[in-house]
Assembly symmetry: C2
Homo-oligomer: 217 residues x 2
Amino acid sequence: MADIKNTSKGLLPEPTLRRLPWYLAYVRLLDNRHVEYVSSTQIAKEINVDASQIAKDLSFINIKGKTRIGYEVHKLVKELTDFLGFKHKHSAFMIGAGSLGGALMQDVGLAQYGLNIVAGFDVNPDLIGKSICGVPIFGIDELARRQREYGVQIAVLAVPVEHAQQVTDVIIQSGLKAIWNFTPFRIKVPAGIVIQNTSIYAHLAVMYNRMDEMNAK
Amino acid sequence: MADIKNTSKGLLPEPTLRRLPWYLAYVRLLDNRHVEYVSSTQIAKEINVDASQIAKDLSFINIKGKTRIGYEVHKLVKELTDFLGFKHKHSAFMIGAGSLGGALMQDVGLAQYGLNIVAGFDVNPDLIGKSICGVPIFGIDELARRQREYGVQIAVLAVPVEHAQQVTDVIIQSGLKAIWNFTPFRIKVPAGIVIQNTSIYAHLAVMYNRMDEMNAK
């Protein structure tokens, strides 16, 4: 997978893309407090990223601060939100409406970041035909038909790990173009399919280990 | 924050710690299918990580394959599970039992990876005194007292972004030692506190951008 993005907006490495939402979270706070200007040094101090890195990241998306004044807060919020795609509505299917999938369907935070889950899919007959927060759950065998009906491009994958690859293949055959993978399994996809891995459980391993280290001191 | 861990088990970089759960997910599958041996080349092919990287990562935790045979699958599952801390029970408090926090309290997957949420905390009077999946929700003002009562070390942070830093300070004052941060805010913590950032919404930004790139082709 390419790590660099070449658009009219310029080359954009994934680490930059992951840092931009941190800047946004902080400048949104400032905006709510009616702060007018912020310097990269000030952002750096608050979020533990080097000031020169912040200036570099923002220059990638053509945002430049003014000497001795810094960035215009309100404008920065608007430009970051636009650039990150959080303002657009992206429709998505939740694949696997069990424990984690069902939980994510209840999270209003996703909609605030532009992700709109319009349907869930499962193999469990107890779930099929039901709905979670008003979002209907269909059988996984309906995926291709529903994709044509809804025109959805994004699948959020939250099935048991042993079915991750097999379900991924079905998702791709059904015409979806992007998979947000919440399973700890490294699914394989053909070229042309966007994949984003968010294995929250893997982060637990890091946390446990750092805690062992602390406790050993 | 240090990126390297020095324990009796050897130096362990964070990227390695994040890859180990991928290996575990795959070898667990093989174990369920009663496969006896697996080579790093075979793992590499399945999960898109270099075979030499896999061998190196596993050697960090003193797991070595046999020439021409590879790794013993069942033993590898056991050793990885042990090492990653997924077998131990780690009690945790959920701080913020709203949309995302409440959803995570319903996810049985966390318990399977060793995280046991024993209580939730919120400021919303509609939530305080209630319970989610049998887990009680207390007022955030009870945090210090409940920490002493339960002896919990881990806080899972899922409050609105504008309260992230302030609530973090309360968490630390209450005696908790590790914070799993689900907010997009880069909270600051003093030395000696373990922090793990899992900003799922930041991953959406990467996915949206990669999709724009695909669609532009």
